[in-house]
Subunit: 369 residues, 2 copies
């Protein structure tokens, strides 16, 4: 992919192109505007990011003609979700820098490719088996017997927020789960007994320099992130190792922007204390606390990275707990707005459907006065 | 002015109308979006706020027809500058809540009205004399002799950033200064010998509850604010008195939103340690540090107030120094972006003219790691 402008920082008033119009796109657009950039959002639907951008385009991710018009209007392109078609990213990259690059998309869109990629870096992932047909199912059942634990079957592609997943107890339920998920290519993972889930948000710039944020510990329910708490309480040596792992993955992808690396912490004395669960080539829900507890939050640092700017300080000034507002949680906005330690973020979505992320609250634990 | 919705908080997705499209309008719009509101900016020119709003209208502040269209599209109106014609605000207020109300505009648009209003509250202002004609000039010269100090002649209306001001040493220069300012109504003020200038940012909600931010000490050059530093270093008792004075003014105006009250500090032992210089019925440059050093910054709190929401915490988590980027100061953005304690805000204005506010930087002094 030609990218002649790789190391020249984009000046203020340049136009940042964002693929996707959800809340992550909205918060990216706001961060870009704060740095003096203009923003053009391209999406197949009109989401909340459209309300805070200079320009908006509704178009398909498969229409190269529409994508060409978009590319001609922007100085760099980034994305808010990892299911942007790789072909779209590759096509855009012919005429404009696309950051992170198409490779990060390709790796993270397929769980089998992703796990293999990470394992090949010498970084631990949960034991897994690719499941595409009857022979794989038999091998998967054998693997599950060997592990001696429950396992999780996940579609290789297009899963998010716990969708496209099923727990299996035995060879029989494995077959049923595979059918239930539509017989599409899947990955069977050993279900590890872990102490907690953490994530590392690493930001890598165009010159290869990388910084990480403090590490949150994450709580899920129903497959959806509910809370992220910082500090994590993990031993310092473990946190250092987690940061190193995330940097290695970012380096191996020659990554530009914020990369989220979710990990399971199995305990200090486990043979592998940290096991990577999955990566997301974008800003991440478990980093929303950085907006109010850090000098420079994840959204601004992503924009800085993709614009070729120096990265901002990831220093944290406050302990913090982020809570998601899912579905009708958001109806409590009047009382949340009255809580003295609450930094409230509402995405402005039209309808509070079940499971839909409507906003989040950062509770600052260390206000001084 | 009818305002039937005074005490009902506006729900998310309501439309906030903002008069004026400059950097203050931009930062107000961004804060409103963060709370899930949509924003419609109305201005006689297309400034930076247009890039971050859901909807934009270019129109005159004297066209009631255009203002009616605007009013019909919004749920509440606020403004980013105090020279909105009072007639426009009054007209809008016939059909939609305008906050702060037209009265705050009327008082703050005329220095003579403003100073008289404040003095009548029992709050100290610098000794002054209204100057409209030859008789006033003679009386003003007498007053200046009595004060025994230099004085400042200011146009009663439309001054900002040091424009519309002249220093006078004597009765002779007073006449010249009055001519130089165009012979328009002016106010002659005693030039006080003060230790520093501070400002109080008070936020008052629809129910009359008010909160204040910590008090910055402000440094000007060429009539333009350059830096605001917090904490101010003033004695606690003085700061308490300053907060009280600002609250009294807000109460007397039945004010809704952020009100900035600039004061001179004459020293603990002066007969009047604090003297009000001027008020601004809007968010204020000397409050920009709140964006990065407080749980809830001035822009969000202004939006909360005018939307009838509970006010947010004004607690400060970090010591901070705000520096304005004036004119070509902004050309240093690449090096400022690399400073580890700098929170950078660029307004995205097209051209860096002399004296033009192009951005600001908040230097956080108390990063923890």
């Amino acid at each position: 992919m030609p990218d002649t402008r790789t190391n020249t920082p984009l000046p203020p008033r340049s136009v940042i192109g964002i693929l996707g119009s959800g809340q992550l796109g909205k918060m990216l657009a706001q961060a870009a505007s704060r740095l003096g950039f203009r923003v053009h959002v391209y999406s197949d639907d009109a989401g909340p990011a459209f309300d805070v951008a200079t320009r908006q385009s509704v178009g398909s991710f498969t229409s190269f003609r529409r994508l060409d018009e978009f590319a001609a209007s922007v100085d760099a392109v980034t994305y808010e979700f990892e299911n942007v078609p790789v072909a779209a990213a590759e096509h855009l990259a012919l005429s404009v820098p696309v950051r992170p690059g198409p490779r990060a998309l390709a790796v993270s869109q397929d769980r089998i490719v992703e796990k293999t990629f990470i394992r090949d870096l010498g970084i631990a992932v949960a034991p897994f088996a690719a499941i595409a047909d009857a022979a794989d199912l038999a091998a998967g059942a054998d693997a599950q017997s060997r592990w001696g634990t429950r396992a999780i079957l996940k579609t290789a592609r297009f899963g998010y927020d716990g969708k496209g997943q099923a727990t299996t107890d035995s060879a029989d339920t494995l077959n049923d789960a595979f059918e239930a998920l539509g017989g599409v290519p899947c990955v069977l993972e050993q279900r590890l007994s872990f102490q907690c889930e953490v994530s590392v948000l690493v930001v890598r710039g165009v010159n290869g320099a990388a910084v990480t944020y403090d590490i949150p510990v994450n709580a899920h329910a129903g497959g959806i992130l509910r809370r992220s708490m910082v500090p994590s309480g993990l031993p310092t040596s473990i946190e250092s190792r987690a940061r190193e792992m995330a940097r290695s993955i970012a380096d191996a992808l020659d990554y530009i922007g914020v990369l989220a690396v979710e990990m399971f912490y199995l305990g200090e004395n486990a043979p592998e204390p940290l096991v990577v669960n999955e990566i997301a080539p974008r800003v991440h829900n478990s980093g929303h606390w950085t907006m109010d507890a850090c000098a420079v939050g994840q959204f601004e640092n992503h924009i800085r990275a993709i614009a070729g700017w120096p990265l901002g300080a990831t220093d944290r000034h406050s302990d913090v707990e982020m809570r998601n507002l899912i579905g009708h949680d958001v109806d409590a906005w009047p009382s949340i707005a009255a809580e003295p330690d609450a930094c409230l973020h509402l995405y402005g979505k039209r309808e509070a459907r079940d499971g839909r992320k409507m906003g989040h609250v950062n509770y600052l634990k260390t206000l001084t006065s």
